[in-house]
């Protein structure tokens, strides 16, 4: 399992230039979609044949506030001239569509709204998504952007093989939830201490990208290309 984060308030244009740079559609997206496309980019950009159309990867997006930031922009435009450019982003699943288009993912895409960040439920839904026999890997994203300035954004990429592998000492679904089966062990050769879905107390040691003020010195454990980030 790979995992990445984009800290709240980060300059997304700078991150785009560093991680992508070749996808001008990015600039028309709302904040949630920018975060989603960037998280996906950071998770999959090293994969071979990555722009070959494929159905075997599902994209699941979770949030609390859905498309609230863009809802507010569209509602403001209604007073003057309703903006179709804003309206198309007023759906919680638009971000899944943007990720699918960028990466040519023709498999399942789903958007869920949760009451709060719940890694157990995210893991539960990842496990459920594998009931689709075509799905061999899942890109799962927690993207909660109630405004354009503040968000939480975290992504996970997990293969079915990891899920099926016999559980070792490192388990991923500490988040609890419904106990819908464990995703198995993760494969981070360089960071054995790194728990996947832990968020909170014990998860502090694991940060990808920058994480706020104190995070400048953290190297991403799961993405080499983030080095120039520092």
């Amino acid at each position: 399992m790979k995992t990445v984060q984009i800290p709240s308030g980060m300059d997304l244009t700078a991150l785009y230039r560093q991680q992508m740079g070749d996808y001008p559609k990015f600039f028309k997206m709302d904040t949630a979609s920018k975060l989603g496309v960037l998280l996906a980019e950071m998770l999959v950009q090293d994969e071979p044949d990555r722009f070959q159309p494929r159905q075997d990867r599902a994209v699941l997006v979770f949030s609390r506030s859905g498309s609230l930031a863009d809802d507010t922009h569209f509602a403001a435009s209604m007073e003057d001239f309703p903006s179709p450019a804003h309206f198309v982003y007023t759906l919680p699943n638009t971000v899944t569509g943007e990720i699918a288009i960028r990466n040519k993912y023709q498999g399942e895409t789903s958007a869920f709204v949760l009451e709060a960040f719940d890694p157990g439920e995210v893991m539960n839904q990842i496990v459920l998504a594998f009931q689709d026999k075509v799905t061999r890997s899942v890109l799962a994203l927690w993207i909660d952007a109630p405004s354009d300035e503040e968000w939480t954004a975290q992504g996970w990429l997990i293969d079915l093989e990891e899920l099926l592998a016999p559980p070792q000492e490192h388990h991923c679904c500490h988040g609890g939830g419904h106990g819908g089966g464990c995703c198995g062990r993760h494969h981070h050769a360089e960071s054995e201490e790194h728990h996947c879905c832990h968020h909170g107390e014990e998860g502090e040691e694991h940060h990808c990208c920058h994480h706020g003020e104190e995070g400048e010195e953290h190297h991403c454990h799961c993405h080499d290309n983030n080095k120039e980030n520092e």
């Binding site: 609390r64 609230l68 179709p84 899944t96």
Partner: protein
């Protein structure tokens, strides 16, 4: 043995009525609640839509009311106990209570929590918001929750109310027809918006075969009065398969090749024998591109010989409710041995030779495909089958 997922309770709440059998008959007779509203909501242009009464909406949440009514009726229909820790609630909607933006917590999670509390559901509710396939995606999710063994019962509620927000948005996209929509017709000019709620109770526990899934407990809910064949027996409905596929093409327009719908059909069709399929209940929004795309997907999937029904000409596009509402009426149609008429359709206006049912047609078969598409390039397909006997 692989567990099976049954529909053990259902309900609909629509501007055309709230009784499945009565609404089913209204659809057969070509009735609709679609009409022109000069100003449905403050600040909106005239809109042709199927809406609940507009009076007094400011003081209450119509969304909560219709969700609750649909949920309670489905639960009563199933005779289920939803207060068990083995019961899940899945809410399906695109915009929920967006009309209260700026005045209240309009997140779908907040709506789901209110609904769960009102119903006495003790597990954390889940919201599926997958654009216009949300209802069908909720049934896929419910099926998965049951197959995983995490729950015994899943209540899936799909609902949409219209608002200045949604109407203005679709008008800004120039997607709305100023008259009654005409799915698949040569003269179609866009979609009509609609309001509805619909709910299903799903379970891995098979109801007794003598009971109609549509209500073994309430004989007047049977479709016997509408049945073309009064001796036809009632069965138990099962969700055989359901998948979601993305076009990976455009966030607000369908694929020109019907890629996602075709792939979704390809994934679900192997679960059923072709001669078992009675018809395809399609999305059929009446926009130029959607209906053309669906004709291509159906053609590519080899389904041009099956009757095709679309219900948007009756209910408008009910968004989060559509997948469940149209599925329930599809079940009723199979039980009556017909494919429902596609209200508004006269002359085929798509490039592929699909068999859109302008009028009710008799059909054989005890199963049907439900197909939906939505913004974000998302497409869903499910196969529902009625099994008879034990």
């Amino acid at each position: 043995m692989h567990p099976r997922v049954y529909c053990i309770g259902k309900s609909i709440v629509t501007p055309l009525g709230n009784d499945v059998a009565a609404v089913f008959n209204a659809v057969r007779e070509g009735r609709s609640a679609l009409r022109l509203y000069p100003q449905a909501f403050p600040g909106t242009e005239p809109v042709f839509a199927s809406l609940f009464p507009l009076e007094g909406r400011e003081d209450r949440s119509l969304f909560q009311e219709i969700c609750l009514e649909a949920a309670r009726k489905a639960v009563a229909d199933a005779g289920a106990d939803v207060t068990s820790p083995r019961t899940a609630l899945v809410l399906c909607s695109v915009k929920g209570e967006i009309e209260a933006l700026g005045r209240a917590d309009v997140t779908l999670a907040a709506s789901a929590r209110k609904l769960a509390d009102a119903l006495g559901v003790v597990t954390t509710p889940l919201v599926v918001s997958n654009a216009c396939i949300s209802g069908l995606a909720g049934l896929v999710e419910g099926r998965r929750l049951l197959l995983s063994g995490l729950y015994d019962t899943v209540l899936v509620v799909g609902a949409e109310v219209q608002s200045r927000f949604i109407v203005s948005g679709f008008q800004s996209l120039k997607a709305l027809s100023e008259e009654a929509c005409k799915p698949f017709d040569a003269a179609r000019k866009g979609l009509n918006l609609g309001e509805a709620a619909a709910a299903m109770v799903l379970s891995t526990e098979r109801p007794a075969a003598s009971e109609n899934c549509f209500s073994g407990r309430d004989p007047k809910n049977h479709f016997s009065e509408a049945n073309t064949n009064p001796t036809r027996s009632y069965g138990v409905w099962e969700i055989l398969e359901g998948v979601i596929r993305n076009d990976a093409n455009h966030i607000s327009g369908p694929s020109r090749t019907g890629e996602g719908s075709y792939n979704a059909l390809q994934a679900v069709l192997p679960c059923v024998e072709r001669e078992e399929l009675a018809f395809v209940s399609v999305h059929g929004t009446s926009t130029l591109y959607n209906d053309e795309m669906e004709s291509i997907a159906l053609d590519r999937a080899g389904l041009t010989d099956l009757p095709v029904s679309a219900l948007k000409g009756t209910f408008g596009h009910t968004m989060g409710a559509a997948g469940i509402l149209e599925t329930i009426l599809g079940m009723a149609a199979v039980e009556a041995g017909i494919a429902l008429p596609t209200r508004g359709f006269e002359h085929l206006g798509v490039s592929r030779p699909i068999r859109v049912s302008a009028t009710e047609v008799p059909v054989r078969g005890n199963a049907f495909v439900k197909l939906l598409s939505g913004f974000g390039g998302v497409n869903g397909a499910c196969v529902f089958k009625k099994s008879e006997g034990r």
